[in-house]
Amino acid sequence: MSEAGAPAAAGGGRPARRRRRAMLPALFVAPGLAWLILFYAIPVASQLWVSLQTGNPDDGFTQTWNWNVYPDALGEYDEQLVRSVGYAASATLLCFVIAFPLAYFIAVKAGRFRNLFLLLIILPFFTSLIVRTVAWQTLLTDDGWVVDTLKSVGLLSDDGRLLATRTAVIAGITYNFLPFMALPLYASLERLDRRLVEAATDLYASRWTAFRKVTLPLAAPGIFAGTLLTFIPAIGDYINAQLLGTSRQYMIGNVIQSQYIVVRDYPVAAALSFIVMICVLIILAFAVRLIGTRQLSEAAVA
């Protein structure tokens, strides 16, 4: 086929060549598009398709376009959904509060120890998430030294505990997702041109003003990336709630897992997955708008 095609193409002259040039952008887009379709669009569509079925796991599920599954699932599990967003937001905020000074220190002050500190941030990733979280179970036991210390300092009441509480779950998420916040922050702070801060202080900005008006806006891409990288997976996390919490702290991921594996109500599970995805997209859209406009206004001021 190609032997026959090649001479014909060569004889095709300029118009054919131009047409081919026109196809080039499509060719470049194709792999990415194929990826998106195969690993995003098709799964999402199949989730939507399954969510509208009715039946039971023994006899099978058939398509009945049962849209009621969405209000029903939302009504039944709104508590866990709101909780997931709340926990993920708290953990993201905590991650930011911890990671920013950390990233700043590594980027600006660590000097030749920079790579060592970066390695230390990534190091926990060499162990599995489950193992790390189970380790926290051991650390936070009721009779352990952490709880004892907190009790003697008066931060915990005498019959208080850390395990199986909200505090433990949020702390667990914060711990497990910290690198996702710290690394993008580091990347943007490391690129930051120190001379701009110097210039600001030269022009009589206080150190705080220089930080607020120069460092922070320039770090915005890192803050944005870190927030998304932490917040989005944290919404769907269920390991921390499972291992460090109780059913009173369970998140939407726990519900989806139990609906898929224990209850085997696939339509409800699929509907909940779809709802979570929509929530994430909405939050994402808001974030892009918010950050986008702020950056615009800053550009205008400058």
């Binding site: 190609s2 090649a6 796991p57 023994d58 009779d143 199986a164 009173r248 594996i261 224990v262 209850v263």
Partner: protein, 400 residues
């Protein structure tokens, strides 16, 4: 070519240079793959049910001829065998035993292998160890291969009380691996004295130091006993009532967690003072921490077995049967019982242990006396639809 501008390179690609036959075939195969997967995508319009629509194979005609034994794969619960018994079987039969401890949770394991079973494909295991109610599901759905009893003469050693469970009246498909009691595990030092009743779990003094299994058959069964009902004959509504009582206690913060097998860690660490527990675990935990106690509540406890079962389409039916036969030899069963500490389904083990380890032989949790046995209740059999409804209710309380 290396210095060729990228756009020219792609242009050449679009124009189509001579390509080799191999590359052409590869492209065609890729295209076929896409078409094929689109086809299966269209075919998968509904989610198929797990029920095997083929007529279940008769158990009378079962015949697994003696063949050379290859590798027999057994998926069992963690810490459930004395591994010293493995070489014995391998030497006896010339086969190889691949013993894996990946059966952690009945529902989870079922979810893992369900699709293969549904599609009538092998699941890569020759023996699995489902608990009674899950074994019932496998048999009911046609996923179990009947046992060729000619290959398992030692099955005659099965304890009489276990010979005909409701889901497998003549043990055509299953043989108990170990049996156990569901009762209460507790630490008298923490609770400040001995417990006696199921309802002690709801003592407000123990708020936040009590755990229960997330699986309703044990947990709601015990709670029903505390409510004065018989969990084996109780109705669906009784179970739903018990679950709403559990829900109420959970909302008060009485119950710290709903667990699987992982409660042992919390109990040993002192995080739990009292919990729903399995007898064998407590025998093992007691060895490390003599403070811990196991209680068959005055109202009674639940009893269950984990059963050896051969999945359909397994490769080594004969090999699996020789293994079942091997572990039903009282001498081998005694070794396993001494290690595992659940109660042993094989006759004649107590006599063997009486000589080697009299203390174990006298342990009523391993060899329950008639009084204890009389106070135990098997799981109910309420039918798939009702049990699914109860599972969903329980999950709302325990798994969110």
């Amino acid at each position: 070519m290396p210095n060729e501008p990228v756009d020219l390179f792609f242009e050449r690609l679009v124009e189509g240079e001579p390509i080799s036959r191999r590359a052409a075939l590869r492209r065609m195969a890729a295209a076929g793959l896409v078409v094929g997967s689109a086809g299966s995508l269209l075919a998968a319009c509904g989610v198929e049910g797990t029920k095997n629509t083929d007529a279940p194979a008769g158990t009378a005609a079962v015949n697994h001829p003696k063949t050379a034994i290859g590798t027999v794969t057994f998926s069992n619960w963690p810490l459930y065998i004395d591994k010293e018994t493995k070489p014995g079987w391998e030497k006896l039969t010339g086969g190889k035993l691949k013993y894996t401890e990946d059966y952690n949770d009945n529902e989870e394991f079922f979810a893992k292998v369900r699709q293969e079973l549904e599609a009538d494909r092998p699941i890569g295991r020759d023996l699995v160890a489902p608990t009674d109610w899950m074994a019932a599901r496998w048999i009911d759905l046609g996923y179990a291969e009947p046992i060729d009893k000619k290959n398992v003469p030692n099955a005659a050693n099965l304890q009489d009380s276990l010979k005909s469970p409701p889901y497998d009246k003549d043990r055509s498909y299953t043989l108990p691996w170990q049996s156990g009691i569901t009762g209460i595990g507790y630490n008298p030092k923490k609770t400040g004295g001995k417990l006696s009743s199921v309802n002690d779990l709801f003592d407000p003094k123990f708020k936040g130091r009590v755990s229960m299994f997330s699986e309703w058959r044990d947990t709601a069964g015990l709670v029903l006993l505390g409510m004065g009902k018989n969990p084996t004959t109780a109705s669906k509504q009784d179970y739903l009532d018990a679950i709403s009582k559990i829900d109420e206690e959970n909302r008060k913060g009485q119950i710290r967690r709903f667990t699987g097998n992982d409660y042992t860690k919390d109990l040993a660490a002192g995080n739990l003072w009292a919990c729903v527990a399995w007898s064998g675990d407590l025998v093992q935990l007691k060895a490390d921490n003599p403070d811990l106690e196991f209680l068959v509540p005055q109202e009674g406890g639940m009893s269950w077995s984990d059963n050896m079962l051969m999945p359909k389409n397994a490769k080594e039916y004969y090999g699996a049967e020789t293994f079942m036969n091997y572990v039903y030899d009282p001498a081998v069963a005694a070794k396993i019982a001494a290690f595992v500490n659940y109660f042993c389904p094989v006759k004649g083990v107590k006599e063997i242990l009486a000589a080697s380890d009299p203390e174990l032989a006298d342990n009523v949790l391993i060899f329950p006396d008639a009084a204890t046995l009389g106070n135990l209740n098997p799981y109910p059999s309420l039918g798939n639809a009702a049990e699914r409804e109860i599972t969903a209710e329980m999950q709302k309380v325990t798994g969110a």
